[in-house]
Amino acid sequence: MTSTTTTPESATAAVALSGVTKVYGRGADAVVALDRVSLDVAPGEFVCLVGASGCGKSTLLNLVAGLDTVSGGGIRVAGDARPGLMFQEPALFPWLTVGANVEVPLKLRGLASAERKARVAELLDTVHLRDFGHRRPHELSGGMRQRVALARTLALDTPVLLMDEPFGALDAMTRDVLHDELERLWTTRNATGRPLTVLFVTHNVREAARLSDRIVLLSSRPGRVIYETRVDIARPRRIDSTEVATVAAEVTDRLRAEVGRHGH
């Protein structure tokens, strides 16, 4: 659907990583989490980063989000936009209502009260939680909390969404619904000319095939890009379709080969 070339130019990329290296500790104890990772994500592209645990996927997202600094290489986000980051846990503020949680980034951006109210209503509507604004996070189910987290991240009005296994802790049925919603939201945004670029980390290959335009496979310790494939399946997709299963099988084989090389 999005017709980007196989090698998008860095100059037009929404997110451009060039030779990103991250080392934790120093001397003999130094651990190389990421080793010269280069990746260009086109505006409006949905890229899934897949890898076994410990491959530095989350580290990569933290770096792009600006919550951590690179040891080498560079990261550029188009227009110096601040990407929104979603975690596996909703990370909602328990002392605030659902609506107030969504309002926090709007307050921090200095929006006026009336505008904030309207935006909160709109965002809760987007994630199908219109009537839950006055509830508290602990009153909601896991899936609903993750939707609130999505609404709160979207309140940043950012063109780049970073998602760190956001549906990893949810049951399969809830996850399917959230896949549909995320796809719908992303498609809608891209159709309005305000493209939403998504960098999505998961260890679930099927989820990657279900959602992404492109799957990028990372090796573990150190994390390095070892394989990339485009996913040209028409949208909306279904996770149980044969096309998705075929792509997933292909990527799984690659992943197995990689894990096998490490001997466990």
Binding site: R82, P94, V177
Partner: protein, 289 residues
Amino acid sequence: MATDNLVAQNETISGLDALENASQQKLPGRASRIWSLTWPKLTALAFVVAIWQVLVWAEWKPEYALPAPLTVAQDLWSWAGTSALWEGLLITLRRAAYGFGAAVVVGLLLGSAVARIKVLRAALGSMITALQTMPSIAWFPLAILLFQLNEQAIFFVVVLGAAPSIANGVIHGVDYVPPLLVRAGRNLGARGFSLYRYVIAPAALPAIVAGLKQGWAFAWRSLMAGELLVIIAKSTSIGVQLTYARELSDAPRVISVMIVILILGLLVDLLFTKADHAIRRRWGLLDRD
């Protein structure tokens, strides 16, 4: 068509969500809830009074040293009818309010500074804990030398007694803010002061309230010790009345004063417990009730 499917699916999920959320148990009536909380306390109280009465009947100690519960109740009643009790209460509570209020200010400022600034933590962190373990009554000889027998000496010790607990509550609270919430806050655009305002301060609130509660207990003890030691002429605070009652061998009054001190401490403690409860309920940290 596709939208219809999506809506239908959503409804299924909200059905499941509703099941998952089925934690709302039916609340019993308010009266029966209060009763279920009260009767164990009343029974325990009756038990204590019964033992007391048995000791009096057994003539364990002479009547002038250990009066009967009824005698004390009569004394408490007549004391409550005089202005002495209420004036004493006023003096003592005003001291408590000033001392504790100042301790809150000092504790919050000190705690936030130590939690935030590394050098200060290295320098003062263990000193605050050391201060907290120091029995505040041990401060009085020095306080009396510094300020003589007056209000300032009491104020000084009350603040010293309570502030370290409050500061420790703040430090503890800030230290145990979940890192994930801080990362989320930073990603949402909170930096420096706004990070404190939107994330760290509210996340630390339960620990801060616990520190305040402990600080109050220390302030109240220091104040009572102070009122027994630092007798100021014409000031008939609760503690002074306790001392006078002992000097006049007025045992019923000694116990009456003690009961008043106990009740006051309990009432304030109840306030803090209520605040703590309200916070935990809001946060969903309470399982039931």
